[in-house]
């Protein structure tokens, strides 16, 4: 369909969540914004192929996800750079305790396989249905469900089970887990 003002507004409205998705995927805010920019350019260039009435955010997320995938194959994620850059994207710094917990969560998320991480984010944070997430990732709905479940299990193991890998839950989390018997 042609790029109407209404469609342009809808694309604009999707930008904040596109950025959040891009940062979640790449762990790097600078790269994430490049990814969003490329996504927008590609979307606008191919706007004729967008079906009126279909899910615009899902269409944009699909483009971004595919761009990230092809980019990922070319150069590896700069994992060591991820946390510092991600922290810079926050307008307000969380309090010390919350910040620590946030870092741990971010680190755990980075440890998930890419398939699982993107499925979890699409369903758990972006608010897409399993069906939309499956469309975005180009796989079956059942595959998305199992990826999300595995992602949750792994996060739980990394964050909340004692002795998990090389870091454990902080005191607050321990108190929460231990104190609710």
């Amino acid at each position: 369909m042609p790029l109407t003002d209404a469609l342009r507004d809808d694309i604009l409205a999707a930008v904040p969540s596109l950025r959040a998705f891009a940062i979640s995927l790449s762990g790097n805010s600078d790269r994430a914004d490049d990814l969003v920019q490329e996504t927008l350019l590609r979307a606008l260039a191919n706007i004729d192929s967008f079906q009126p009435g279909s899910n615009l955010p899902a269409w944009l997320f699909t483009i971004l996800r595919n761009l990230f995938r092809s980019d990922y194959r070319k150069r590896r994620r700069e994992v060591e750079d991820a946390e510092g850059n991600y922290a810079k994207t926050l307008k307000t710094q969380p309090s010390q305790g919350a910040h620590l917990e946030f870092e741990e969560f971010r680190t755990a998320l980075d440890k998930l396989p890419q398939d699982q991480r993107e499925a979890l984010i699409l369903v758990g944070a972006s608010g897409f249905s399993y069906e939309d997430a499956a469309t975005i990732c180009g796989c079956a709905v059942g595959t998305i469900k199992s990826r999300v479940n595995r992602a949750r299990s792994k996060l739980a193991a990394l964050l909340y089970v004692d002795g998990a890998e090389d870091f454990g839950p902080d005191d607050t989390v321990r108190a929460v887990i231990g104190g609710n018997g």
């Binding site: 003002d5 604009l12 930008v15 994207t89 739980a156």
Partner: protein
């Protein structure tokens, strides 16, 4: 948005061998959204707003963009 399974039972929280307990899952869902929403709340950076606005004008059009604030413009839908 409703990724968190409805709370099953509190007693499930003690069994960390098998299924995931509801409280941990709710916590993970909460953190995931908090992380995500931190970015969403930043809104649309100027560079993207500008990019979309510029590309909105067809290359072969004689229309002059005069809209700065994103209100009314052109003859399209408002």
């Amino acid at each position: 948005m409703k990724d968190v399974k409805s709370p099953v039972s509190k007693s499930a929280a003690t069994g960390k061998t098998g299924g995931l307990n509801a409280e941990i899952q709710s916590r993970i869902g909460h953190q995931l959204r908090a992380m995500y929403d931190d970015v969403v709340r930043q809104g649309v950076p100027d560079r993207f707003a500008e990019l979309i606005r510029k590309l909105d004008v067809p290359a072969n059009s004689s229309q002059v963009e005069e809209d700065e604030g994103g209100g009314t413009n052109n003859d399209g839908r408002v």
